[in-house]
């Protein structure tokens, strides 16, 4: 925004999607609209509305494809620019952008929705300022930031001083295949300060898993605050960031340099940043331990919809597994990737079938497909849909977890490996993450997406909960006995207390 010093006015709206400019973004499909908010001629706030666009141009639709030559191959790179100037749309600029994306009519609707949201924010904040006055509102903002900072410092003081380590890997970078990419963190807690140091992580990659510093910073802080008192969860703000330092060496996969590709980075290595921090802090605060979530399972298909004769891109992650367990609770069901922290979720089947030429044939939890534990991971799923559209292509760009398992904590089991298949003429073809493959008419896409990791020793799980898991077909009778050490009557599912006690005593 330095380029606009002295040239920011009421009614302006700025747009950027470039991870290397702007500091809010991880990859090109996420477009952010910033509106300066003035009150009585004085600039007091900025608001941001950011969302993942249907398309951003580039070599293939949807933005999650591997093997871009550089970031320019991944789509249109928009540095911070004005798309509205003093209340008037800069139509020529918008048209230039829309001319560089697919489905411009749809993208135009979404741009208007997002700009509209910033307009609403401006009106609501204006009303707040009218009601309380500028001085009071700004004093409250500062007060809230200071209060949050004090609360976060107090939370950090609760963590024993020390050094804690964690690490996580993605299956590969999509260009150098079958070679894992590692993120490593060393967390130093001293008094009321915490340093998250990613030195030792792999170097920047040719493939699209690179994360810019802003994205690493956001994911690292987001993971750390999961270990703070949930009572302050509603109050995180700038104050949260003051006592936490994030170190990421320039040129590493967690602080990449232009023009490295970043397409998959919200997932890979974004998830690895979060997992490594959560794994490390589980050692520091076991009573708040968090296991890995099921790995992200996004596959993007682009082909032609015979109902309309038009091209489409199916940008979904409807087949994500579930959340990881936390100390005291099983993992959530139905949530999406760990980096979205529950804000993103699976879509609605009917909506997908209306919009896209894919018909769902199976969508259910699979037994024994999450990490066992005293608190188990949310269940994994089996998802199938048949392609009723044309032949096309599928990018498994934001999928992960076919090789590297998500960690379990404190003796909890890890998240199982996941699988993607294309069933073609009765044969199941295994499709790895980070690939670009052909899809044929009538292919059936089969997703086995694992659930989250577990926390704590499974043999300490309440037998009653194990019984309920078996009744709900989340755990098999065999696993109940072999892993959870709970003996159930195979017909009535009644708990055999004596046999269970004997099984658990044997260990």
């Amino acid at each position: 925004m330095k380029n606009f010093a002295g040239n920011i006015h009421p009614g302006d709206v700025f747009l950027t999607n470039d991870p290397y400019h702007g500091g809010h973004n991880c990859h090109l499909p996420d477009w952010g609209f910033f509106r300066p908010i003035f009150y009585k001629g004085e600039l007091l706030f900025f608001t941001l509305c950011r969302g993942h666009q249907q398309d951003t141009g580039g070599s293939f639709p949807g933005g999650y494809f591997p093997n871009g030559y550089d970031i320019h191959a991944e789509g249109i790179c928009i540095p911070p620019i004005k798309v509205w100037d003093r209340g008037r749309e800069r139509t020529d600029v918008i048209e230039l952008i829309l001319n560089n994306v697919r489905w411009p009519d749809g993208v135009r609707i979404d741009l208007n929705a997002m700009i509209g949201a910033t307009t609403m924010c401006e009106k609501r904040l204006g009303a707040l300022l009218d009601a309380y006055g500028k001085d009071t509102v700004l004093a409250c903002v500062n007060e809230m930031i200071d209060r949050t900072e004090r609360a976060v410092r107090a939370e950090i003081r609760k963590i024993p001083d020390g050094v804690y380590t964690g690490q996580s890997a993605t299956d590969d970078d999509g260009t150098v295949l079958d070679e894992q990419v590692w993120v490593k963190v060393k967390i130093t807690v001293k008094g009321e300060k915490m340093t998250l140091d990613f030195t030792g992580s792999d170097g920047q990659r040719k493939g699209f898993v690179n994360s810019v510093y802003a994205a690493t910073y956001g994911n690292a802080i987001a993971a750390a605050i999961l270990y703070f008192d949930p009572a302050i969860a509603d109050y995180h703000n700038q104050g949260t960031m003051r006592p936490i330092e994030v170190v990421a060496p320039l040129g590493s996969v967690v602080n990449c340099q232009y023009p490295a590709t970043t397409g998959a980075s919200p997932v890979n290595v974004g998830i690895q940043v979060m997992e490594s921090v959560c794994e490390a802090l589980a050692k520091a605060l076991p009573e708040r331990a968090i296991a890995s979530w099921g790995k992200h399972r996004g596959d993007y298909v682009f082909a032609v919809d015979p109902r309309t004769g038009e091209r489409y891109v199916r940008t979904t992650f409807d087949y994500d597994g579930s959340g990881g367990a936390v100390w005291g609770y099983d993992g959530y069901q139905g949530v999406s990737t760990m980096t979205a922290m529950g804000a993103a979720n699976r879509g609605n089947v009917e909506e997908m079938e209306i919009r896209l030429p894919w018909r769902m044939t199976r969508y259910e939890f699979l037994p024994d497909f999450s990490g066992a534990g005293r608190w188990r991971g949310g269940p994994g799923i089996h998802w199938e849909a048949v392609n009723e559209g044309s032949a096309g292509q599928m990018a498994t760009g934001s999928t992960d977890g076919d090789v590297v398992q998500g960690y379990g904590a404190l003796g909890g089991h890890p998240s199982p490996v996941s699988r993607t298949y294309l069933r073609r003429q009765g044969e199941d073809l295994l499709i790895k993450p980070h690939r670009l493959v052909k899809v044929e008419e009538r292919d059936v896409l089969v997703k086995h997406s694992s659930g989250g990791g577990g926390v704590g020793d499974p043999a300490q799980r309440d037998p009653q909960l194990v019984k309920e898991d078996v009744e709900n077909e989340l755990v098999s009778l065999e696993t109940a006995r072999a892993v959870y050490k709970v003996a159930l009557d195979p017909v009535t599912l009644a708990i055999d207390r004596a046999a269970t006690q004997a099984l658990r005593a044997k260990r």
């Binding site: 941001l48 969302g51 749809g106 949201a117 609403m120 509102v137 209060r147 987001a222 909506e351």
Partner: protein, 72 residues
Amino acid sequence: MRKAMKAKAKKPATKAKRPAARKPIDATTVATVWHTMQTICKEMRHLVDRTAQNYLIGQLHDRAPSSPSRIW
């Protein structure tokens, strides 16, 4: 030269200003302003969810109207 530098270090040209004492704000006002801002963020989210045509935003909620929407 060294002496001059030392002298300069001991006696800065201008004294640092003491930060102005902040006016105390009552807890009710702080809570009201804070939660109004949160509500604005939530309204922005609802507007985008209900208006956007793309599946990622409307169905999967892959959006962040106002910064920390994945947190609160």
